[in-house]
Amino acid sequence: MKKVYGTAAEALDGLLFDGMLIAAGGFGLCGIPELLIDAIREAGTKDLTVASNNAGVDDFGLGVLLQTRQVKKMMSSYVGENAEFMRQYLSGELELEFNPQGTLAERMRAGGCGIPGFYTKTGVGTVIAEGKEVKQFHGEDYILEEGIFADLSIVKAWKADDTGNLVFRKTARNFNPPAAMCGKVCIAEVEEIVPRGELDPDGIHLPGIYVHRIVQGAHEKRIEQRTTRKREEA
């Protein structure tokens, strides 16, 4: 089965529909599927629900889908870097479901593992617990959180082989593996596709069973907060 596609638009062909749920990898602007996001903007798919830890910035990452009003709802843990997001949210144009970061990651992982729900202590006694089942284990309260089953996963990896085995780089791994796992179909965009056999089987971060389509491309990889230290004076 051929998994390698020439462009992000070709990789998305036949998968997009209005009102769909998309799980996206990335943390801030690190390790985001920037090529697939741009291609979804070009496709014009509307009323999207997007599960992603963050919402990008105004002109990069998921922010570009907010600019074009293609997103109906975000499921995120932190959206503080995006002014257009805030404007749409405060005016009621955009729905927002806050998820604690670890709960969001586990909801994705669980969905990918066929686990429809799990209990966690995170958020007990807070607004996050409102309307959720509470169950006691060993004398302590836990709340029920549901697995996420997405129509499509879009992720970014460093390298892939042509069978879809993925290797990530440093902290750009972040939400990408759990996001990849929870989709009916997963597309990975990568910096480099290598022939099978070139990746160390012991060093595969996400096995190709989770990855249905792959596309290679040039990534901007924008830095959100450039922080440095001075070199000691010699």
């Binding site: 943390f27 801030g28 602007l29 690190c30 390790g31 830890n53 995120s76 843990s77 932190y78 959206v79 503080g80 870097e81 805030m86 806050f98 604690p100 970061q101 670890g102 709960t103 969001l104 990651a105 586990e106 994705m108 992982r109 966690t120 202590k121 995170t122 958020g123 007990v124 006694g125 807070t126 607004v127 996050i128 460093w158 990530f168 780089r169 440093k170 902290t171 750009a172 791994r173 972040n174 939400f175 990408n176 593996p177 759990p178 971060h205 990889k221 924008r222 830095i223 959100e224 907060q225 450039r226 922080t227 440095t228 230290r229 001075k230 070199r231």
Partner: protein, 208 residues
């Protein structure tokens, strides 16, 4: 004189013991890393890293290597990387010994509010709710009063909570308090701050 930001961070660093895996929040907690001295501490960054190093030298920034505050950082010889589900698995699973976090309000029962002010811009809780629910010890570092002079150490939080009964120790510019049965216990006062001054700035019940 009350402690300044760096003195509060230095005091918080005393809480850390050799061999601990620790998560530091944004703001004053980040400064704690400057004061761990010779102690063998491994810093976790919840976006997927153990063994967080200092900021890179100019020109050596790597877009694939950031901390939870989205700042460019570096790796160390001990560094390991993992995904967000595993990162919060180790947090939720109690493997992280301590988290040092900032706060807007803390209550005498250990309730913590540090993510949302109703009516103001809501940015989200990020990983704060997971951290306070999961780690071994939660240490709050914050100013004792807000900019209007009102106590942030309260009988009950007024803001939406991050967690209930989660705080173990509070380090402020005025001193150190522990959450104990019935209220807060004064552990020490900042240099030149009297116990009476600390009590006067505290709304919460103080027990002996």
């Amino acid at each position: 004189m009350p402690w300044d930001r760096n003195q509060m961070a230095a005091r918080a660093a005393q809480e850390l013991e050799d061999g601990m895996y620790v998560n530091l929040g944004i703001g004053i907690p980040t400064l704690v890393a400057n004061y761990v001295g010779d102690k063998d501490i491994t810093l976790q960054s919840e976006n997927g890293m153990l063994g967080m190093g200092p900021f890179p030298f100019e020109g050596e920034e790597d877009a694939d290597l950031i901390n939870a505050g989205k700042q460019t950082i570096t790796e160390l010889a001990r560094t390991s990387y993992f995904d967000s589900a595993q990162s919060f698995g180790m947090i939720r699973g109690g493997k992280i010994a301590a988290a040092i976090l900032g706060a807007m309000e803390v209550a005498e029962n250990g309730d913590l509010a540090n993510w949302m002010i109703p009516g103001k811009l809501v940015k989200g809780m990020g990983g704060a709710m997971d951290l306070v629910a999961g780690v071994g010890k939660v240490i709050v570092v914050m100013d004792h009063t807000n900019k209007h002079g009102d106590s942030k150490v309260l009988k009950a939080c007024t803001l939406p909570l991050t967690g209930t009964g989660v705080v173990d120790r509070i380090i402020t510019n005025l001193g150190v308090l522990d959450v104990v049965e019935g209220g807060l216990k004064i552990i020490e006062t900042a240099d030149g701050v009297t116990e009476d001054e600390l009590r006067a700035a505290t709304e919460a019940t103080i027990v002996d």
